[in-house]
């Protein structure tokens, strides 16, 4: 039995690993305790789409045997730590749906690299986490399997698209999780659910085994209950992968070791465009408190400008949908996934399978993406958006010549109610206003809890760092976190 002192809602990765390594609990007991809690709590949250109990318990046994042998070299950085995986990442033989009906019965024949890396470090993978279909959404309401509920307020969305990944960590249904972020899909749900979420630099973490949405934007990153835990996961995940030619050979620094370094002297940029009209006053106040805390720890604060910010959302919805329309052409009813029973001809097979298999938001984005790439519109939309992407990236390169990190809100509002924005896709897209610019520029970012609204809804603060500047970004995140604990 796990030690009664292990409260699954607050258990940190560091504490979980220690308890397994020193024998206070076992990896098997820890996994079982999580499965019991999932059975009791998840019917209200709906964060898991599939549980991988056999695989988890087999892994837990291996970890426990290594712990008993007393050979600490066999115990990885995540030994015995129960982790959930967003359902857009392949796990061999395990249902991997991407939240879509079109992949309802799909069992990938291989593991994503990030999944393999977690298990090699001793992690116990509990199951697959709910998300917006093909990671397209900001509320998790686009999942073909039903929405996730925010554990902090069940009538509200957990954010999206990695809503299940954020909610499961917030609800004590795993110690940490993996999500993916194309336009804010890690940072926004982290903010809505009150957990830490990291968007690593483009190329920092392998995407082999990630079901592609927009390949020039997609990234894999961790969710955890604190910055140290998230940094531990990033250290495991980061690095080049021969199976992903877009992964970077840039050396991986010791993120966890670097966290202790004081932030005094760091220059923090405050982008005026992120504090304009439409920002919820309680979020503004919480971010300002975080900035005060950084100042108190010796950081210098600098007003900066990211002048093209207002163009980020339209740019993103051209580029992301164009890439999605190409990536999702692979779902054709031929090699895997759903094939319509009405596939009387080859052409009918393509059309019916895709029409019956994809949900409305995915169709909307495929149509938009096909439109902006179609003859006569390519230059006006796609090329134009690529040019604005250059300007948005230059904004950040200029800013990071003057400051070490940028601090700003993640979202304009706290978690909204389920159903509140489903009727108006444009309103939903505008939710991404503070997150998509960093996605387009390829820089790293994170969301750190920094308070709650009067109604008790979590507030996240966004820390942005330059390309491959995770180490400094994490230090700033940890400094904000420590100030909030006092």
């Amino acid at each position: 039995m796990p030690d009664a002192a292990l409260n699954l809602e607050t258990l940190t990765l560091t504490a979980a690993r220690s308890a397994v390594v020193d024998g206070t609990t076992s990896a098997a007991a820890l996994a079982s305790a999580h499965y019991e809690r999932i059975a009791a709590v998840d019917p209200q949250i709906h964060s898991y789409l599939a549980l991988t109990r056999n695989r988890a318990l087999a892994q837990a046994e291996r970890v426990d045997a290594a712990a008993k042998s007393g050979d600490s070299t066999k115990l990885g950085a995540l030994a015995g730590v129960p982790i959930g995986i967003k359902d857009v990442l392949a796990m061999s033989g395990v249902p991997t749906t991407a939240g879509s009906k079109i992949l309802e019965n799909y069992h990938p024949p291989y593991d994503a690299t990030c999944v393999a890396k977690l298990e090699a470090a001793g992690a116990v993978l509990l199951g697959k986490l709910n998300c917006d279909e093909f990671a397209m959404g900001s509320s998790n309401e686009n999942s073909a399997y039903g929405p996730v509920h925010n554990p902090r307020a069940l009538d509200r969305v957990p954010g999206g698209s990695s809503g299940g990944s954020a909610a499961a960590v917030a609800a004590g249904l795993c110690v940490a999780s993996l999500g993916t972020d194309t336009g804010g899909s890690i940072r926004q749900p982290a903010a809505f659910c009150g957990v830490v979420g990291i968007l690593p630099t483009y190329g920092r973490v392998s995407r082999y085994g990630l079901i592609a949405f927009a390949s020039s934007l997609d990234r894999v990153g961790p969710f955890a209950r604190n910055v140290m835990d998230a940094a531990t996961l990033l250290e495991v995940l980061a690095g080049p992968d021969p199976m992903d030619s877009t992964s970077s050979a840039q050396p991986v620094p010791g993120y966890t070791a670097g966290l202790a370094k004081p932030v005094a002297g760091l220059r923090i940029g405050i982008p005026e465009e992120y504090f304009g009209e439409g920002l919820n006053p309680e979020i503004r106040a919480a971010i300002e408190k975080s900035l005060d805390a950084l100042k108190a720890q010796g950081c210098t604060l600098h007003k900066i400008s990211l002048p093209h910010t207002s163009y980020a959302v339209p740019t993103y919805y051209v580029i992301a949908t164009a890439e999605a329309s190409a990536n999702l052409s692979r779902f054709d009813g031929v090699r895997f996934g759903y094939r319509s029973p009405e596939s009387t001809t080859l052409s009918a097979m393509y059309r019916k399978s895709r029409d019956e298999g994809f949900g409305p938001e995915v169709k909307r984005r495929i149509l938009l993406g096909t439109y902006v790439l179609s003859a006569g519109y390519y230059d006006a939309y796609y090329r134009k958006a690529q040019q604005v992407r250059t300007l948005l990236t230059r904004d950040f390169l200029t800013a990071f010549a003057q400051v070490d990190a940028i601090v700003c809100p993640v979202t304009p509002t706290p978690a909204f109610k389920l159903g509140e924005k489903t009727d108006d896709p444009l309103q939903m897209y505008l939710e991404d206003i503070y997150s998509v610019a960093a996605s387009l520029a390829g820089i790293c970012g994170m969301s750190v809890p920094c308070g709650t609204t009067a109604a008790g809804l979590p507030i996240g603060v966004q820390v942005l760092g330059p390309h491959f500047g995770e180490a400094t970004m994490l230090r700033v995140g940890a400094a904000i976190e420590s100030a909030n604990k006092v």
Partner: protein, 107 residues
Amino acid sequence: MSATGVSEADVTHVADLANLELTPAELPRMVRDLNAILGHIAELNGLNTADVPPMAQVSEALGLAPAAAGESLRPDVIKPSLNRVAVMAEAPETDGRFFKVPKVIER
């Protein structure tokens, strides 16, 4: 970018290109949504980008060495691929060796 937006015929044409078959019920809503989104996207026209190079991916903006920028290609050596049995098990229709699809050419 046309100020008049997209019509039902435009959306049907694009759906055709994307191999999507929209039901009559889906079409009007799709036209409404696409016009709203395209209207927002039209704001990009307010920017003069005449001398700005397009950016397809992040490494172009960084000027990093190819490997560090994430353009590393693995050595071109023969290695085993995925197991055919496991791959074919996922196919909607297969004879074990090939993917089967409905007849393409009528005779």
